[in-house]
């Protein structure tokens, strides 16, 4: 397996990543580390490239420059077989839910279980019910994605992402479109998953409430400079960041002066 030149102990390391659609550069020179068992948030204004960054991290898009490393191994330059091995350890929830529309919610969650394990049908059924219960959808097993609401699709998408108890969970705007109670439940679920299964969680979101209550590390993508505005603990960034743009974002547009004690994580 090819190793990066600057080997890192981080779970995920992004090095000099530049993302572009043709000649339009979305973000350039992103550098950050995600440690094991982190709940890491990718935040920034809408349209700044948060989901694009996530897609680069899971290998759906190829970077123009730079690379993504998992546990020191270079994912960007890895061969198809090596990549497939990494991808097996991912659980991904897409912005739209992206459930397979010709399958019921239960079949959606069962499919990866059936493909990658030799469990008897009864065990698969129990696992599916358990995963659906975790996201508050017990009893909706036989509904098709088109028969339930957008928020429920999203929650089922999270249940599917958790199907194989992934090592790293990627969630693209999980809280958007959820009611406050479901949103709170979801935060709780993410914390519990991290604590009980030891998963590393990468979340794209701009829900400030969940950012402050669950994230221990975050990257802020700056639309104006088209690069990372800051990396660090969100609460510290809010109070101490040297960048007014970051403070404004995390204070819902209110201009504040940085509090004393300069942050440790500022790049």
């Amino acid at each position: 397996m090819s190793l990066s030149t600057e080997k890192s102990t981080a779970k995920i390391a992004v090095r000099g990543l530049t993302m572009a659609y043709g000649s339009y550069v979305v973000m350039s020179d992103l550098n950050f580390d995600i440690q094991d068992k982190d709940i890491f948030v990718i935040m920034g204004g809408s349209g700044c490239g948060k989901s694009t960054l996530l897609r680069h991290m899971i290998g759906l898009l190829e970077p123009t420059k730079g690379s993504v490393h998992y546990e020191g191994a270079n994912f960007t330059t890895a061969s198809a077989e090596e990549r497939a091995r990494f991808i097996r350890r991912f659980g991904v929830m897409y912005q739209s839910g992206a459930l397979w529309s010709s399958l019921t919610l239960a079949e959606n969650i069962a499919l990866p279980l059936e493909e990658f394990s030799a469990l008897p049908p009864k065990v698969v059924r129990d696992l599916v019910s358990y995963k659906l219960s975790l996201v508050g959808l017990a009893g909706y097993e036989d509904f098709y994605p088109s028969q339930v609401s957008g928020g429920m699709n999203k929650r089922a998408g999270i249940a599917r992402a958790m199907a194989l108890d992934p090592d790293i969970l990627f969630l693209d705007e999980p809280g958007a479109g959820l009611d406050p109670l479901s949103s709170h439940r979801l935060d709780d679920l993410i914390l519990r998953l991290r604590d009980s299964l030891g998963s590393t969680v990468v979340i794209v979101t701009h829900e400030l409430a969940s950012i402050f209550s669950i994230a221990n590390n975050a990257i802020f993508l700056d639309t104006e400079t088209r690069t990372q505005g800051a990396v660090g603990n969100p609460t510290e960034l809010r109070d101490h960041s040297g960048s007014p743009g970051v403070r404004r974002f995390l204070n819902r547009g209110i201009e504040t002066a940085p509090l004393p004690n300069s942050p440790a994580h500022e790049p």
């Binding site: 000649s23 339009y24 899971i58 991808i87 739209s96 992206a98 397979w100 529309s101 493909e115 990658f116």
Partner: protein, 378 residues
């Protein structure tokens, strides 16, 4: 939306924007009622190169979005203005203008300008054609690899997907294939009979219908029906899966979307189209037989004559071709579905392209086969 000071007199004043040169600064005097339903605004005075230093709005009546849109267009037309002066505007209008100007225009996000010269368009077309040929070749290659993986037992797909597709492009296609084939047989017999009756040789209608059906018409008509029915369905289904990120979801579970989605469809159609072709041939001959009976050829005689005309080689030609046509329909449908854009309009375009491409492929392949069979004297 109506704002500003509402005047008591109900009489509508036409909207006016008058440029006034005051010392060395420009002043824009706005007056009248600015409404969508009202007359178009009248611009008076020479429009200066710079933005107005202030506005006069004493005579401004009611306004809707047309006024802020007019002002914003003027401000955007003068490049490089960070904070344009908005002095003199009423508070509500000023608030709207502040909001519209809060985030600077992202010029780069507009995308490249449309191709201008004919030469550039020709170049673009050439590159697009080259790209689609490359995509098609790549897709055929991937299909072959996928079939190879299937044969060696390494391809993964849901067997229910396969059986469902088999049903969709098999049994469910029978009614339309029956109707079309029967009518084609009927038409061939009618047309043939008119000509052959001139020579008193109308028994040879059986030869004509039989040979035409089993060599060409059966397989070509069935393939065209299937490309409109099944090929379009493949493209629409895969296209909407792509638009809905469902294909990405397969990929991030480490499942090969090609094996998972294309392979069962390809296999199902390659299995079913030859069977449908045989069925279509028989139904076409029955159609001819009906016309024969109507013009005085007894069905038994018609059937015997048909058996004399068609030998096993002739009968197998259509079925042989149907394997290739089936692969062409499945590949065109799946290719355009998998490469559809990410919107519902793109799914429609993908479906159209799939049907056009598969019908073209069928006819081109058929003429190729006709040439080869002629050279081989079959």
């Amino acid at each position: 939306m109506v704002g500003a000071a509402v005047k008591n007199d109900k009489e509508a004043c036409p909207p006016r924007a008058a440029w006034i040169q005051d010392a060395d600064t420009a002043v824009l005097r706005l007056s009248g009622d600015w409404r969508r339903e009202g007359p178009l605004p009248v611009v008076e005075g020479a429009v200066p190169a710079a933005l107005p230093a202030r506005y006069e709005t004493a005579d401004l009546g009611v306004f809707d979005s047309t006024l802020p849109a007019f002002l914003l267009a003027r401000i955007r037309a003068v490049a490089g203005t960070e904070k344009p002066p908005l002095d003199g505007l009423p508070d509500n209008l000023r608030g709207l203008m502040d909001l519209a100007l809060a985030v600077p225009e992202q010029g780069e996000a507009r995308g490249p300008p449309a191709a201008a010269s004919d030469l550039r368009k020709l170049g673009k077309l050439t590159m697009e054609t080259g790209e689609s040929v490359r995509l098609m070749s790549e897709f055929i290659g991937l299909s072959v690899l996928s079939v190879f993986r299937f044969v060696t037992g390494r391809a993964r797909f849901r067997s229910t997907d396969f059986w469902l597709t088999l049903q969709e492009c098999g049994i469910e296609a029978l009614p339309i294939v029956s109707l079309i084939s029967f009518l084609i047989g009927l038409i061939l017999a009618f047309v043939g009979n008119v000509q052959l009756a001139n020579f008193g040789a109308n028994i040879f209608v059986a030869d004509l219908v039989g040979i035409a059906m089993v060599r060409e018409m059966g397989v070509v008509m069935t393939s065209i029906i299937m490309s409109g029915r099944t090929g379009a369905a493949f493209a629409a289904h895969l296209g909407s899966m792509k638009a809905n990120e469902e294909i990405d979801a397969l990929r991030t579970f480490g499942l090969n979307p090609f094996d998972f989605l294309v392979l069962p469809r390809l296999l199902a159609l390659v299995l079913m189209l030859p069977l449908l072709t045989i069925y279509s041939n028989i139904i076409g001959i029955l159609g001819g037989m009906l016309v024969g009976a109507a013009v005085g050829i007894p069905p038994v005689l018609y059937w015997t004559q048909t058996l004399i005309a068609i030998n096993l080689t002739t009968a197998s030609l259509g079925v042989f071709k149907s394997f290739f046509f089936a692969a062409a329909i499945a590949i065109c449908g799946c290719l355009h579905g998998m490469h559809a854009g990410d919107s519902s309009a793109a799914v429609g375009q993908a479906t159209t392209r799939a049907v056009v491409a598969s019908i073209t492929a069928i006819i081109v392949l058929d003429s190729l086969f006709a040439t080869i069979f002629t050279l081989l004297e079959i």
